[in-house]
Subunit: 276 residues, 2 copies
């Protein structure tokens, strides 16, 4: 059967996370509800990974298996194959069904062995911090406001300790997460945009539960002078959760993008950055 | 009496515009309500200009006259003069009272003859358009989604006709606006950010009622091939509203900044763009 991958966006605020949970609204349920309407059969949505309640996504990826177009005459899609036009039409129909806080940016036909989670080689997150005493009415939904001044140089030094392959047990919420705590961090960077608008970018092959938010909570403590960069190395080495900082709140966090091996990297073709 | 100017931000969605209106929530009422609580007397908020229901602001400016600090012991501000620290404290207290969709970014002491509206020499607006077939969950509150492809070159040529000093009667809603229709447009530019995220920037000494939104509605018609650049010149010359296009919806529009003569240009000192 044909397999499709969907590039999706969501505003975290109104979802109780990405994964199916009985009785609450999640991204997976919203997608599967639309699949049921469009394909007239239960269709499982497989996401690249879970995002917590309140966390947004700009480039989340999901896959699912769908019937042949010819078997779904009710869709009234003229083409019999999943070409660019019929996939754009399918995305259009999806967007007409799902809530406006979720959007399908693109749909692609993928090889049968493509798996949104297992094929992914890198995930990239961004956490936004507004570091100024006065809050913002326009940024408050997507930035954590830290009133006291942060020492960016200290934070950058501390962030550099996270780069590379480490055991992130100290940066994992005590939970049911049974995945390996070994993660290879390939990017860990703090950007300073205008007027105290900070962005913390992190990319890794794999993330453990609450990892980005605990790292951010720890780096904020570094920025406030409550701990130093060395304490990050110690937490990594000793693997004790209490050696790291608190978990930063979810609304500052966005799953920015998921990367796949070259052969599967279909998104870039259409979504490359263009400036005129 | 001391006069202060406030640099404010608001998300237009939940306000019925900026100007006082009986029985509905507007920016002016929200500010005056906070002044009443802080200063224990009615204090008029003067804005640099009106914004319509649904329109946001990033750099709106207001002024008001306030009692001396010494006359307001209940504020518990230690300093007796309006220095930087006490003004920051006042802004902090304001932000604790007003709704989170409104924010005071900064307060400055200004000369007694400063007037938020009359002293302003230039206003700058930005209108955001998402020009792609698939909608966005993250941008939908602040961008107008135009599904069909826009011809940017044609739009830029048309926009260039607006630069300079013209009579904008054709771009004014038939209303009670009795200000002069003569406006000097100093900037009229269309930026193309990534993935169809367009920004239309316009700056002028003065704007007539609904002017930016009618200009955007007209330029979109140009972009869709429904009219040409020449029709803009004709509308300007003949001054008939029906020669211009429809009024674009409010949510794409943001009042970006208000400029004052050099002597009064207080904001830039603290809010200059910094990149590390």
């Amino acid at each position: 059967v044909p397999r499709i991958a969907l590039l999706i966006e969501y505003a975290g605020k109104k979802f109780r996370g990405s994964q199916y949970q009985e009785g609450v609204r999640t991204v997976q349920q919203e997608l599967e509800g639309a699949f049921q309407i469009l394909f007239k059969q239960f269709t499982r949505a497989h996401l690249s990974g879970r995002t917590d309640s309140g966390v947004s996504a700009r480039g989340q990826v999901a896959h699912c298996d769908v019937p042949e177009l010819a078997a779904m005459p009710w869709l009234k899609i003229k083409s019999e194959s999943f070409d660019d036009d019929s996939l754009a039409e399918l995305a259009w129909k999806m967007n007409g069904i799902i809530g406006r806080d979720l959007a399908v940016a693109q749909i692609q036909l993928v090889p049968e062995d493509f798996h949104a989670r297992r094929s992914a080689v890198t995930r990239q997150y961004v956490y936004r911090i507004l570091n100024r005493r006065q809050r913002s009415a326009l940024l408050e939904d997507t930035y954590l406001n830290v009133y006291r001044p942060l020492d960016l140089e200290a934070m950058r030094l501390a962030a550099s300790k996270l780069l590379g392959r480490h055991d992130f047990t100290a940066f994992r919420s005590t939970s049911t997460d049974r995945s390996t705590p070994i993660c290879s961090v390939s990017r860990c960077e703090i950007l300073n945009l205008r007027e105290g608008e900070l962005e913390f970018w992190i990319a890794a092959d794999h993330f453990v539960y609450n990892m980005v938010r605990i790292i951010v909570g720890t780096l904020i403590e570094v920025g406030l002078g409550k701990r130093d960069a060395e304490s990050i190395s110690q937490a990594l080495e000793r693997g004790e959760r209490n050696l790291a900082g608190p978990t930063a709140p979810p609304w500052g966090l966005t799953l920015d993008s998921v990367f796949y091996p070259e052969a599967l990297r279909l998104w870039e073709q259409k979504f490359q950055e263009k400036r005129q």
